[in-house]
Symmetry: C2
Subunit: 588 residues, 2 copies
C-alpha cells in the first residue's frame, strides 16, 4: 500500500516528503486497524471507524454488521478457508468454551470473546435508544422455536455459535429500554445501573454472609437505612432485606406480621392459632392473596375492601369489615394498603388507614412497590403521607426508579423481627465463633439461603444521580403522564376510565374507533369495545413500533393502561403513542 | 517526536529512509494510541500494550493501574488541571450520569464509560484466576465502613467517582472464581456464563410473559425439558420453574405437595385440613424446616430421620416414623430426600425412599440442589438412582455446574400442578385474549410476580460446553476431591470426620495441631479441637490466601468442610490448601 500510494505528481522534496509521511501514517494506522481487528473484533472496528472517519476504512478491515443468521462470521474477507491473511481475527469458529480462562494462556481468547460480546451489547444498547428501531420483532412461539436450533446437545458448540446465539437472542428480545416501550411498570435501561449489574455478575457472590460479600452487605445496610429514613422512620432505624421481587417482599411482610402476633406459629403452624384475616383493597396486587394461600392462611383469609372511583380504599369500609371479622371471632391481623396500584396508580389514604390499624392493633403494611419511588420527589411524596406509620413497606426500585431488574426491598420498622421469624441457626452457614460482628450476616433473616446481590445497582445509581437525580427523573415521568392525560382527555375517540389528573404515571383510557363511537346500545358498544384494545395490541406487536398494556378491571372492559417509568421517553413519544393507537385502531 | 527520533548515524538513502519509515510508524502508532486512550480508556491501554509490546509504550500514553484510593484518575500525565494535552481522555471527573444515554449525543460518553468499566472487570477477571493474588483482602466491617465514603447524597457524584467506586468494591470483594476459593458450594467464574449474565442484564426483562421475554421463556421451556429428561422422566415431560435459589425451590415443592393432597388449602388455609407431617434427614438443608414454618405447617411438622455415619437417611427409621405419625392421626404428606447434603455431601438411598413413599402414598421430593449436577456425569449419576421416581426435584445449576448465581430449578413430574396451585388469574398481567399461545406465559405458575431471567446463562453454558463439557468439569472436581481424600486420610495431623471415599466433592476433616495431637483426655481434646478451625480460618482470611468453610455437625466439633466445584482448581491448589492449613495451624 505504501508504494502504490506514493504520489507520482509530487514535485520537489517537501511534497514528496509530505506524501511519504502521509503514506506512512496511513500504513501504520492500517496496520494498527488490522491488529485491532485481530485482537478486539468489533471494538476494533469501532476504533478504526473513529480513526478513519466513516467510509474511509482501509480495505482489509472488516466492519461486521449485526446479523442473526447462522452464517459464518469470519473477520477477513479473502474468502479462503482457512485463510492466512495478515488481518485474520481470532477465529471463534475454531474455538470453544474450553479455550477460555481458566485455560492456560486463555487471557487473549477470553478478552477477545468478552469484547466481541461487549460489542454485541453496545450495539443493542444503541438500538434500544434509537426510535427508528422496533421495540419488538415479534414472532409466534412456534415460529421462534422452529426458526432456529436452540437445542442442547452432547457436543460443545463453537464460540462463534455462542456469539451468534447472543445476537439472535437480542434480535428477538423486547427492547425494554426503548423510549416507546410502555408495557410494564419496569421500563428503561439505566447505564450506571447496567454497569453495576455487569460488575455484580462478575463478582458472582451471595448475600448470606459478610464473609463472602463484605462490600455488598455493607451497601445493603447503608441503602436500607437511607430508604427507611426516606420513609420517615426516626434515624432510619429498623430492619429490611432485598428480596426477589415485590410479591416476595409482600409475602415477607405477611409472614412477620403473623409471627409478631403469634410467635408460636413458627413452631406449631396455623392449626395452633386462631383464624387470621388480612385486608387489602380490591385494586391491590394479587400477591397479597397469593401470599395468604402460600402461608396457609388461605385466600378466604383475605378480605377485599371497596375502593372509590379512583381505586383508593374507602377507610369506612375497611373499619366496617374489621368489625365484622371480629364479631365472627376471627383475628384481623394485617392491612396491606397500596401506594400506587398496578392498574390505576392509586394511592390509598394512608393516614386514615394508620388510624384504623392503631385503633384495632393491626399490622399496617404499605405495598409501595410501584409508588415508593415518589418518596424521592419533594413535589409528589405527599401522596404517601402516613407511610411513616406503617410497620412494613414494600418498595421496588426496579419500578419507578428505573433500577435494572430485580431490585425490591422490604423495610420493617421493628428491628430483629425478620431474624427471629426466619432464623434456623444453621451452624454450617452462620458459625457463631467467627472473628467479625455477626450482625452483618444477613442470611438467617431471609426465606432464601443464597440470596442474589441486588443492591449494587441501586447503590451505584443513587451515588451517580444523587437523590436529586432520581427526583428529576421521577418528576419528569409524572409530568409526561399529565401531558398525556391533557392531550387525550378531550380528544375525539378517547375516553378516560376515570376522571381527574393521574396520581401516578398510570393513565387509563379506551380508544373508541369510529365504528363503535356512535353506537347507542350500551351492551353492544361494550361487547365491541372489549375487543378493540386486544386487536390494537396485536397490530402494535406486529409492527413493533410501541408497546402498551391493556386489561379489564371490575366491570370495565379492556382498556389501555399507559405507564411511564422510562426517563428516555419524551413528549414526542407520547404524541407518537396516541397517533399510533389511532392509526392502528381507526378501521376496527 | 518524529525529528528527535531521526537517526543522526544513518548513512546514505536506505538507512535514512528506513529510519524515516520507522519514525512514521512510531508516530502514527503513537497518535493512534493517544486517540485510543481518548476514546476507550483502559481498553485503549491494552491495545497499545499489544501494539508496542510490554515496556515499549510511547511516552504520553498512560496505562492506568487499578487503584482503590479516591485520588484523581486523569488520563494524561501533564499534572495540569484542566490540561490541554493532545492525549487527554474523556474526563469523567467532569461528567455525570446525566451525560450518558439517553442524553443527546450521549453515545460517545456512554461507550467510553462502559468500556472503562469493562476494563475494570477484565482486570478483576484476570486477577481472579491469578494464584499470586489474594482470594480476599479482608477488613472488619467497621474498618470498611469508615475507610471510605459510601454514603448516598442529595447531589450526584461524577462518573470518575462511580468508576472509582467500582474499583473499590472489587478490591474488597471475595474472588469467588479464584482457584483457591473453596468456601461455598458455588464457586468459580465461568466466562460463557458471565457473558450470558451481562447479556441478561442488558436485556433487562422479566420472565412472567412470553410477550416481554420471548426467547428467554422458550429457552426456559427447552432447558427444563432437557433437565427433566436427564432426571429420567419419560420424554422430559412434566413442569418446572427457575426460582431464586434452592430454598425457594424446596418451598415450592412443599407447597405443591400440600396442594396436591388437599387442594382446598389454597382457599381455606391450614385450619381446614388435618395436621401435615414432612420427613427429611437430620443432615438435610435447613430450608425444609424454614418452608414448613413459612407455609403454616410449623417446624414441628418436620420429622428429622436418623442418618448413618455417612449422613444418609436410614430407610427403616423413615418408615418407622411414618407409621408413628399415622398412629397419632396426622397425615404424612412429604418426604424430602437429599441428593448431596450440604456438609457431608451424602446421597440418600433414593430407591428405598421411593418404595416407602409409594407404599404410603407420600410426595417424594429430592433436594438435589447440590448433587443434581452429577446427573450430567455417566460415571457418577448412579448416586442419584431412584431420582426418576421423585414427584419433584430441586437442582441448582449455580452449584456443581458452575453457572453464575442465581440459577436454581424446581422440576415437577405432574404437569399443571404448579399453575393450579399458584395461579391467581390476574387479568392485568395474564390477559386471556392475547394473540399467542398463553401456555408460554409462566407468571401465574410462580410465587413471584416479576421473575428474574436466570435461564440464559445456563442455556448458553450448556450450548457452549455440551453435556460432555459439564460432565468433564464435574468428573474433574470429583477426582480432585478423591485426590484430597487420599492425600490427607493417613497424613499426620489430619483426621477424617467419616471414613471412606467421598460421595460428592465434600471432604470433611479436622486438622489437629501438635499441641492437641497427643492429648489423651477426650473432653479436653474436644474443647481444644473445637477452637482450631475457627482460628485457622481467621488467619486464612487475614492472609487471604485461600478460603474453606468449617462447622460443627451433631456431636462433632468444628471441622473443615472442603468442597470443590470450581473447574479452575487443580491438584496443586489442593496441595496448597493442605500445606496452608498446616502452616496456619501448626503453632496453635
Amino acid at each position: 500500500r505504501l508504494w502504490t500510494q506514493f504520489s507520482p505528481h509530487s514535485q520537489g522534496f517537501r511534497p514528496f516528503f509530505k506524501a511519504l509521511i502521509q503514506s506512512c501514517l496511513m500504513f501504520a494506522a492500517n496496520a494498527w486497524c488490522q491488529m485491532a481487528q485481530k485482537f478486539t473484533g468489533g471494538i476494533g472496528s469501532k476504533l478504526c471507524a473513529f480513526l478513519y472517519g466513516d467510509g474511509q476504512r482501509p480495505a482489509g478491515t472488516v466492519v461486521k454488521e449485526e446479523t442473526a443468521s447462522m452464517e459464518s462470521n469470519l473477520a477477513c474477507n479473502c474468502n479462503k478457508t482457512p485463510c492466512a491473511c495478515q488481518n485474520v481475527q481470532i477465529n471463534f469458529s475454531l474455538l470453544h468454551a474450553i479455550d477460555l480462562l481458566p485455560a492456560d494462556s486463555g487471557e487473549g481468547v477470553t478478552f477477545a470473546f468478552l469484547e466481541q460480546l461487549m460489542d454485541i451489547l453496545l450495539q443493542y444498547i444503541l438500538k434500544s435508544f434509537d426510535r427508528s428501531t422496533k421495540v419488538i420483532d415479534f414472532h409466534y412461539p412456534n415460529d421462534l422455536l422452529e426458526g432456529f436450533n436452540w437445542e442442547l446437545d452432547e457436543q460443545p458448540n463453537t464460540l462463534e455459535d455462542i456469539l451468534m446465539s447472543c445476537r439472535t437472542t437480542l434480535k428477538y428480545a423486547v427492547k425494554t429500554g426503548h423510549p416507546r416501550y410502555f408495557n410494564q411498570l419496569s421500563t428503561g435501561l439505566d447505564m450506571v445501573g447496567l454497569a453495576a449489574d455487569w460488575l455484580t455478575s462478575t463478582a458472582n457472590t451471595n448475600m448470606f454472609t459478610y464473609e463472602i460479600a463484605p462490600v455488598f452487605v455493607l451497601l445493603e445496610y447503608i441503602t436500607l437505612k437511607k430508604m427507611r429514613a426516606m420513609i420517615g422512620w426516626p434515624g432510619g432505624c429498623g430492619d429490611g432485606i432485598f428480596s426477589p421481587g415485590g410479591a416476595i417482599s409482600n409475602m415477607y411482610a405477611m409472614l412477620i406480621a403473623r409471627y409478631k402476633l403469634f410467635p408460636e406459629v413458627k413452631e406449631k403452624g396455623m392449626a395452633a392459632i386462631p383464624k387470621l384475616i388480612a385486608f387489602t383493597s380490591e385494586h391491590s396486587h394479587f400477591s397479597i392473596k397469593k401470599s395468604a394461600a402460600a402461608l396457609g392462611i388461605g385466600m378466604d383469609g383475605v378480605v377485599l375492601i371497596k375502593c372509590d372511583v379512583r381505586g383508593r380504599i374507602i377507610p369506612s369500609d375497611l373499619e366496617r369489615r374489621i368489625l365484622e371479622v371480629r364479631q365472627k371471632g376471627f383475628v384481623p391481623f394485617y392491612v396491606s394498603a397500596t401506594a400506587g396500584t398496578t392498574v390505576y396508580g392509586a394511592f390509598d389514604p394512608l393516614v386514615a388507614i394508620a388510624d384504623i390499624c392503631k385503633k384495632y392493633n393491626i399490622w399496617m403494611h404499605v405495598d409501595a412497590a410501584w409508588g415508593g419511588g415518589l418518596l424521592m420527589s419533594r413535589k409528589h411524596r405527599w401522596k404517601l403521607n402516613g407511610v411513616e406509620r406503617a410497620c412494613s413497606v414494600t418498595w421496588n426500585p426496579h419500578k419507578m426508579m428505573g433500577v435494572p431488574l430485580q431490585c425490591s426491598a422490604l423495610l420493617v420498622r421493628e428491628e430483629g423481627l425478620l431474624q427471629s421469624c426466619n432464623q434456623m441457626n444453621a451452624c454450617y452457614l452462620f458459625q457463631t465463633d467467627k472473628q467479625y460482628d455477626l450482625s452483618y450476616d444477613t442470611g438467617d433473616k431471609a426465606l432464601q439461603c443464597g440470596r442474589h446481590v441486588d443492591i449494587f445497582k441501586l447503590w451505584l445509581m443513587w451515588r451517580a444521580k444523587g437523590t436529586m437525580g432520581f427526583e428529576a427523573q421521577i418528576d419528569k415521568c409524572l409530568d409526561l403522564a399529565e401531558y398525556l392525560y391533557n392531550k387525550i382527555k378531550d380528544r375525539e375517540g378517547f375516553e378516560m376510565v376515570f376522571d381527574g389528573k393521574p396520581q401516578h404515571t398510570n393513565v387509563c383510557f379506551w380508544y373508541v374507533p369510529p365504528s363503535v363511537r356512535y353506537i347507542q346500545d350500551k351492551e353492544e358498544r361494550r361487547n365491541l369495545l372489549m375487543k378493540v384494545a386486544p386487536q390494537i395490541k396485536t397490530r402494535m406487536m406486529a409492527f413493533g413500533t410501541t408497546m402498551v398494556s391493556y386489561q379489564p378491571q371490575g366491570d370495565k372492559v379492556n382498556f389501555f393502561r399507559m405507564v411511564i417509568s422510562n426517563p428516555a421517553a419524551t413528549q414526542e413519544d407520547i404524541d407518537f403513542l396516541i397517533e399510533e393507537i389511532e392509526r392502528l385502531g381507526h378501521d376496527l
